[in-house]
């Protein structure tokens, strides 16, 4: 029982990270119909940039901020220079983003080498906290859960309670109609891309702190973003949250109870969802 609860809590904290990465991915996908397959690279970029800033300044909060902001700007640049002018050619955009991910991964490898890097979080986050039934649990992981919950709520409110959010939701449903209504969709796309990229960069620093940063992590977070979006349905924040929780739990339970077949369970999850709802749990038919 104790083990089960700990594993479940681990699953939820991993899910928090997956959610933060995938929510940007799914919003970009939903709004622009373009899959940014360099999303994992943005995560890794955030991790390394944050690490570098942390090394220079010795300040973890600054690292967090730098990871998020620099990657948001780089994401915007990536969108404007590479993806924006081929709007509507979704396959070509996907291929361009794959090319970018190959180049970014190799540049990061050249700069930072293949060692595994770890952050030094602030003192108070390194403690563990006593939880009923579970015992000591790292405060860092719990705060990750809270951060993800907070960001999720802010995003949900922003998307469902503001004019800007209404425009995005309208864009997910029908972007041509939206631009016919006089909304500057290009500007909307850039903003959504910046938010999505910034969240990926932020997650890079958070993930690097809770786990670690190393080459190849981009593939892991790309896979989790893909599966979360496939399971949850594109363009839906609630879908991303539910998808992330399912993927996180399935992965951690699998690792604990079926160690060598954990990734097989992801197939089972994906197959089950696709058989039942091809557009994902919260997705609507495109």
């Amino acid at each position: 029982m104790n083990l089960f609860l700990t594993v479940t809590l681990n699953g939820l904290t991993v899910a928090a990270l997956y959610f933060l990465v995938a929510v940007g991915f799914t919003l970009i996908f939903g709004l622009m119909r373009s899959v940014n397959l360099a999303h994992g690279s943005l995560y890794l970029l955030g991790g390394y940039l944050g690490y570098q800033v942390g090394e220079w300044s010795g300040n973890w909060y600054l690292a967090l901020l730098a990871g998020a902001l620099i990657v948001a700007v780089l994401g915007m640049a990536m969108h404007l220079f590479f993806l924006d002018w081929m709007q509507g050619e979704d396959l070509r955009q996907a291929l361009v983003s794959i090319g970018l991910s190959v180049v970014i991964a190799d540049l990061l490898l050249a700069k930072f080498g293949s060692l595994t890097l770890q952050f030094q979080p602030p003192e108070f986050l390194q403690d563990s906290i006593e939880l009923p039934l579970i015992g000591g649990y790292p405060l860092l992981r719990l705060s990750l859960l809270l951060v993800a919950l907070g960001i999720g709520i802010v995003l949900w409110l922003g998307l469902n309670r503001t004019r800007f959010g209404a425009a995005i939701r309208a864009g997910v449903d029908d972007r041509e109609m939206l631009s016919a209504l006089g909304i500057n969709t290009s500007r909307l796309f850039v903003l959504v891309f910046a938010v999505g990229a910034g969240l990926a960069g932020l997650s890079g620093v958070l993930g690097g702190t809770v786990l670690s940063v190393s080459p190849g992590e981009d593939a892991r977070y790309l896979l989790s973003s893909l599966v979360v979006t496939i399971v949850g349905g594109m363009g839906s924040i609630v879908g991303a949250a539910v998808g992330a929780v399912l993927v996180g739990l399935v992965e951690q339970w699998g690792m604990a109870y079926l160690p060598t077949y954990a990734y097989m369970l992801i197939y089972v999850l994906m197959t089950a969802v696709l058989a039942w709802r091809p557009a994902g749990l919260f997705g609507r038919k495109a």
């Binding site: 794959i98 090319g99 180049v103 190799d106 896979l223 893909l226 496939i230 060598t260 992801i266 197959t271």
Partner: protein
């Protein structure tokens, strides 16, 4: 332009085949075994993607994984250094590998067939990467990180076929030529035309009475065979298979070959594979061996940005430009 297009194309195909047959007698063994053979077996895998994408409109990123499934199935039914699996005589092992890979391909097809375009690309990518993480983690069947080493290669006149550059090259060429011709033939048959109808307009094809799902799954099954044989040849060539063969880099490699060559025609897969293998071997002298991915990634990026129909598209445009100049 008096000759019909089809005749001209077949003429090109024959010229290409003649060149491929003569090639090993004109160059040193390194160029036969280390450049020629890998171009052909990677080309086979890229050909399966080129077929699905070009004629079915389905950019499946799981084709390297299909090859990897065949590779693992072959390694597990051959004598290997880890003594894992059940050794079978090599024809049975190959048959088993192809069968397993085609079944896997059908599974991929079923998952992907209900979706289209970009969603299909995502699902197949997720399937491919999931397989990589599975074999990397699982040590009971796939021997995790190390994979299966020292896989036995069939022998001819008491020597492993892989050790004889020309023998191995011509085996690769034979398989590649059969499937290249097979696909060129298939796309002109009613079944191939139905596939292209589904690509162009699934709803109209369905209204005409075609089962869109069945056609897509059948295309995946058909594409599974060349991919699987490419995987078999790849394992014989390397005498091993490991998670590194089917990782994101491997998945991207096949995509890069097919796209850089050009998806419009099956020959693009082989053109792309030749270029990829050449760069892989000579990157050391251009940018340093460690930065191969930077080089190939930039080339891929340049192609999708400026010539999305690949090198074939560039060739076609050059030809058109020359013809219009001649006409002027």
């Amino acid at each position: 332009m008096s000759t019909p297009l089809e005749t001209r194309l077949i003429r090109y195909d024959l010229a290409l085949l003649c060149w491929a047959v003569l090639y090993p007698f004109l160059v040193p063994n390194f160029w036969v075994l280390n450049i020629g053979a890998p171009s052909l077996f990677f080309g086979l895998v890229a050909l399966s993607l080129s077929f699905l994408a070009g004629y079915g409109g389905m950019v499946s990123l799981a084709q390297m994984t299909v090859a990897g499934v065949a590779g693992y199935a072959l390694a597990l039914t051959s004598v290997n250094a880890e003594a894992m699996g059940v050794p079978l005589p090599w024809p049975l092992a190959v048959a088993f590998a192809v069968l397993v890979a085609v079944l896997f391909s059908i599974f991929v097809g079923f998952l992907a067939a209900r979706t289209e375009g970009i969603y299909l690309l995502m699902i197949t990518l997720a399937i491919g990467m999931g397989f990589f993480f599975l074999v990397q983690q699982n040590d009971t069947v796939f021997n995790a990180f190390n994979g299966l080493q020292g896989v036995a290669v069939p022998q001819l006149f008491e020597r492993p076929i892989r050790d004889e550059a020309h023998v191995f090259y011509f085996i690769c060429l034979g398989v590649a030529a059969v499937f290249y011709a097979g696909i060129r033939y298939l796309v002109a048959t009613p079944a191939g035309l139905a596939l292209q109808a589904v690509r162009d307009d699934p709803r109209k094809a369905a209204a005409l009475g075609y089962s869109v799902t069945a056609i897509k799954v059948a295309a995946f099954a058909a594409a599974g065979v060349p991919a699987a044989l490419g995987g078999v040849l790849m394992v014989w060539y390397n005498q091993r298979i490991s998670p590194g063969s089917v990782d994101l880099g491997g998945i991207n490699a096949i995509l890069i070959m097919a796209v850089v060559g050009g998806l419009r025609h099956p020959v693009g897969a082989f053109i792309g594979a030749v270029l990829y293998v050449l760069l892989q071997n000579f990157a050391g002298t251009i940018v340093g061996a460690d930065r191969f991915n930077l080089l190939i990634g930039s080339i891929f990026l340049a192609v999708v940005l400026f010539s999305p129909d690949g090198l074939l598209g560039i060739a076609r445009r050059l030809q058109a430009a020359m013809q219009s100049r001649r006409a002027a």
